[in-house]
C-alpha cells in the first residue's frame, strides 16, 4: 500500500454494480459485486460498503469519499454517483483495465458484451483508436440472452453446457430480440432440440457482434460480465475468428471497474503532480 491510499472504480452497469479497489501500483486489493436495483444509490452504497470485512471508500455517513481514497464511476449509472471524484465511460474504462491486465504492446480489439450494450473497441498505439456500440436493439447483449433464457425457462447457469451439447448448427435472427423470440417459439413448435436452439442463440450473439465492425487486429480481448458467465461464447468467437488470437481478460466482469480504479489513480496523481493519466484530461 502507498501510505494507505486506495483507488476505487465503480462500474454501475445495467444489471450489476461492480466495485474494484487497487493500490498505487495497480494491484487489485478488493472486488465486490451487487445488483443494479433501485433506489440506485442505496445499492451503490451497499456494494461499496460490502459486508464490513474489507475497507470501504465511504465516510461513516456514506455521503462522501474518505480521505486517502479516490473513486471514479463508470457504466451507465456513472453520472448518478454524486460523490465520485470523476467519471469515465465504459469504453475508456475497459480499455484501461485490459491494457493494464494484459500489457499488450501491439494493436488489439476489445469486445465487451454488457447487460444492455456491446462494444467493439480497437486499440492502436496504446490508445483507443475507434469504437462502435450496438444499435438500439438488445440483440447481441446480455439482456438478449436473459430474455430468451427466460422464454425457454432455462436457468442462465445451464446455458453454456446445453449449448455445448448441441448436435446441429442453426441460425437465429440476430437483428431484433422480438424477431428472435418469435423464431424461437416457431423452432420449438417444430420440435427442435433445446440444445441446438441455445447454441443458435449464442451464435446469433456472436454474429451480431461481428457485424458491428470489421475486426482488423490479430489480438482480440474479451471483457465484460456476459463473457464471464457464458464461457461457451469465447469458444464460439474463436471459431468465428480464425486467424485471430482470442483471449478472455481475467475477471472479465471487473475489467471496467478496474479501469475506473486505474483512472482514479491517475486523477489523484495528476492532482499531486505525478501524472499517471493516459487518457484525455478529465
Amino acid at each position: 500500500m502507498d501510505g494507505g491510499r486506495y483507488y476505487w472504480g465503480v462500474d454501475c452497469g445495467s444489471t450489476q454494480i461492480k466495485v474494484c479497489a487497487c493500490d498505487a501500483e495497480g494491484r487489485i486489493l478488493h472486488k465486490r459485486i451487487g445488483r443494479t436495483l433501485f433506489p440506485l444509490m442505496e445499492h451503490v452504497r451497499k456494494t461499496l460498503v460490502g459486508d464490513g470485512s474489507e475497507p470501504t471508500p465511504l465516510t461513516d455517513d456514506q455521503q462522501s469519499v474518505r480521505e486517502n481514497h479516490t473513486l471514479v464511476a463508470t457504466g451507465y449509472g456513472r453520472n448518478h454517483i454524486g460523490f465520485a471524484d470523476g467519471t469515465l465511460t465504459e469504453i475508456s474504462a475497459h480499455f484501461l483495465g485490459a491494457q493494464e491486465l494484459l500489457q499488450l504492446t501491439g494493436p488489439y480489439t476489445i469486445i465487451d458484451i454488457g447487460g444492455q450494450d456491446s462494444k467493439v473497441i480497437e486499440v492502436q498505439d496504446g490508445r483507443v483508436g475507434q469504437f462502435v456500440i450496438n444499435r438500439k436493439c438488445a440483440a447481441g447483449t446480455g439482456a438478449f440472452i436473459e430474455e430468451l433464457a427466460h422464454r425457454l425457462e432455462v436457468p442462465l447457469g445451464d446455458l453454456t453446457e446445453l449449448a455445448r451439447a448441441h448436435d446441429k448448427d442453426m441460425t437465429l435472427n440476430s437483428y431484433c430480440t422480438v424477431f428472435s423470440g418469435q423464431e424461437v417459439i416457431k423452432v420449438l413448435m417444430n420440435g427442435e432440440r433445446l440444445e441446438n436452439l441455445i447454441h443458435a442463440l449464442y451464435a446469433s450473439v456472436v454474429q451480431r457482434i461481428l457485424e458491428m465492425t470489421s475486426i482488423t487486429t490479430e489480438e482480440v480481448v474479451f471483457s465484460g460480465g456476459v463473457m464471464n458467465y457464458n464461457p461457451v461464447l469465447l469458444e464460439m468467437f474463436r471459431e468465428s475468428l480464425p486467424g485471430h488470437r482470442g483471449r478472455l481478460v481475467d475477471d472479465a466482469q471487473f475489467c471496467g471497474a478496474y479501469g475506473a480504479a486505474l483512472y482514479a489513480r491517475g486523477l489523484e496523481e495528476r492532482h499531486s503532480g505525478r501524472g499517471h493519466l493516459n487518457l484525455a484530461e478529465a
Binding site: 475508456s92 469504437f131 456500440i133 487518457l279 484525455a280
Partner: protein, 394 residues
C-alpha cells in the same frame, strides 16, 4: 435584432395573410424556390420548419403515433409524420408560441425533391386535404457535378411553376421582383456563410446548436430584407465575440463536426453534453446547407437552379466526402459525429462507409443513432456514452 421577434412577426404576418382574402399563401419545402413565390406575391410557409418546431417542443411525440395509426409508417420522415399527426389532432406549436390557432391555409403547395421524395408525399397529402394545387420540382439528383443540362432542366420547371403562379395571382411575374428577391437571398445567404465562418475562431463564438436556432430566418425568410438585416446584426455580434475571445463553450478543448440532422427534442441536452465535455460543435453539414453562393440577381432563374441543385444533400458521395474533409480542415476539427437519423436516410451520411473512410485517413469519426423528431429512436444513455467516450479518446 431579436430573433424571437423576427420569427414572431413572420408567423403573425402569415396568419394575417391566411385570413385575408386579398393575400395568398404558398407552402414551400425548405430548399424550394422561395424567391419565385415571394416575387409572385405569396407569403411563404415552410412545413419543415413547422416539423422542427413540433420536434423541439416534443409535441411530435403525441402527433407521430397519430400519423402512424393513420397509415404513415414510423420508418418514413418524422417531420412528415409529426406534421400530419398534428394536422389530424388539430394542434400546432404556433398556438403556444404566438397565439396562432392553426397553420396558414395554402393556396398552392410547392415542393422540390432536391432533398428527398418524402416531401412529395407530404405535400400531396395536404393538396388533397385543402383542395389546393401541388407543384413539384423534380431536379436531377445525387450529382457529382452540376452541368448546364441539369440547370436547363430545372429552369424549365421553374418557368412552368411561374405559369401556374401567374394563373393563381392573375398577373405576370415582374422580372424586377424576382431579381430583387434573388438579390436579397444572395445577401442573406452570404451573411449566413460569414456567420458560420466565425466558428473558425478558437475559441468559437457559436456552436452548431446555436446555429440551429439562428438559422430560422435563412430558412423561412429568404428573399426578404428582414433576413438580410438579421444576419448583418448577428454577424456584428459574433465578430465582437471573436475579438473579445468569448467562447460558446468555456474552456473549449475539442472541436467537433456534426453531420446529419439535429435531434430537435434534445437540442438542449446535447448542447450541454458537448459543453460539459468542453467540446464545441463548430461546424455542421446541416447549418451549411443554407449557404447558396450561386444566387445571382443578374441571372435569377439559372442561378437559383444552380443554387438549389448544388446543395449537399443532392450530391454524390464523393462530393460529400470531399466537402466534409474540406470543412474538417478549415475549422480545425478534431472529430466528426455522424447522426444516423432513423427516419431521414437522405440526411444520414454514415450509411455508406463514409465514417470508415474518414477514419482510415486519420479523421476520428463516430456514429450515434437517433432521429430528427422521433425520440422513440433515440437513447439518451447510449448517445451520451458514445459522445463522452469519443471526446475522451480524441
Amino acid at each position: 435584432m431579436d430573433l424571437k421577434q423576427v420569427m414572431k412577426d413572420y408567423f403573425l404576418d402569415l396568419d394575417a395573410a391566411s385570413k385575408d382574402p386579398a393575400r395568398k399563401v404558398a407552402w414551400c419545402t425548405s430548399v424550394g424556390p422561395a424567391e419565385i413565390l415571394r416575387a409572385m406575391g405569396f407569403e411563404v410557409f415552410f412545413p419543415e420548419n413547422h416539423g422542427a418546431m413540433l420536434g423541439a417542443t416534443r409535441v411530435c411525440m403525441d402527433t407521430i403515433p397519430k400519423a402512424n395509426a393513420f397509415g404513415y409508417s414510423p420508418d418514413i420522415c418524422s417531420y412528415l409524420t409529426s406534421d400530419v399527426g398534428a394536422y389530424l389532432k388539430g394542434v400546432t406549436p404556433l398556438t403556444r408560441a404566438y397565439g396562432i390557432e392553426t397553420v396558414p391555409r395554402p393556396d398552392i403547395l410547392v415542393y422540390n425533391t432536391n432533398q428527398c421524395k418524402d416531401v412529395m408525399h407530404w405535400f400531396e397529402y395536404y393538396g388533397r386535404e385543402y383542395g389546393a394545387p401541388v407543384f413539384g420540382i423534380h431536379p436531377p439528383a445525387h450529382l457529382p457535378e452540376v452541368e448546364p443540362n441539369h440547370v436547363a432542366d430545372v429552369v424549365a420547371q421553374f418557368e412552368a411553376l411561374i405559369e401556374v403562379l401567374e394563373g393563381l395571382q392573375g398577373r405576370a411575374l415582374d422580372e424586377a421582383d424576382l431579381r430583387r428577391a434573388c438579390a436579397l437571398s444572395k445577401e442573406a445567404t452570404d451573411l449566413w456563410a460569414e456567420v458560420l465562418a466565425t466558428a473558425m475562431a478558437r475559441p468559437s463564438p457559436l456552436t452548431f446548436f446555436d446555429g440551429t436556432i439562428y438559422m430560422g430566418p435563412i430558412v423561412v425568410l429568404r428573399g426578404t430584407e428582414v433576413a438580410r438585416d438579421y444576419y448583418r446584426a448577428l454577424l456584428d455580434e459574433l465578430r465582437t465575440k471573436v475579438q473579445q475571445g468569448t467562447a460558446a463553450v468555456p474552456g473549449e478543448r475539442k472541436r467537433i463536426y456534426w453531420d446529419g440532422m439535429p435531434i430537435w427534442g434534445r437540442l438542449r441536452s446535447m448542447s450541454d453534453l458537448f459543453s460539459d465535455n468542453r467540446a464545441c460543435v463548430v461546424a455542421s453539414t446541416y447549418c451549411n446547407s443554407w449557404i447558396f453562393s450561386d444566387f445571382d440577381a443578374a441571372d435569377p432563374l439559372p442561378s437559383m437552379a444552380r443554387a438549389y441543385l448544388k446543395i449537399f444533400i443532392n450530391r454524390n458521395d464523393r462530393f460529400k466526402e470531399d466537402y466534409i474533409r474540406k470543412l474538417v480542415d478549415e475549422y480545425a476539427i478534431d472529430g466528426v459525429v455522424f447522426h444516423e437519423a432513423k427516419t431521414c436516410p437522405n440526411n444520414s451520411n454514415s450509411q455508406y462507409n463514409l465514417p470508415a473512410r474518414l477514419r482510415a485517413s486519420g479523421i476520428p469519426a463516430v456514429i450515434i443513432n437517433g432521429d430528427l423528431n422521433d425520440l422513440r429512436c433515440f437513447s439518451d444513455e447510449q448517445s451520451t456514452t458514445v459522445i463522452e467516450a469519443f471526446v475522451e479518446t480524441l
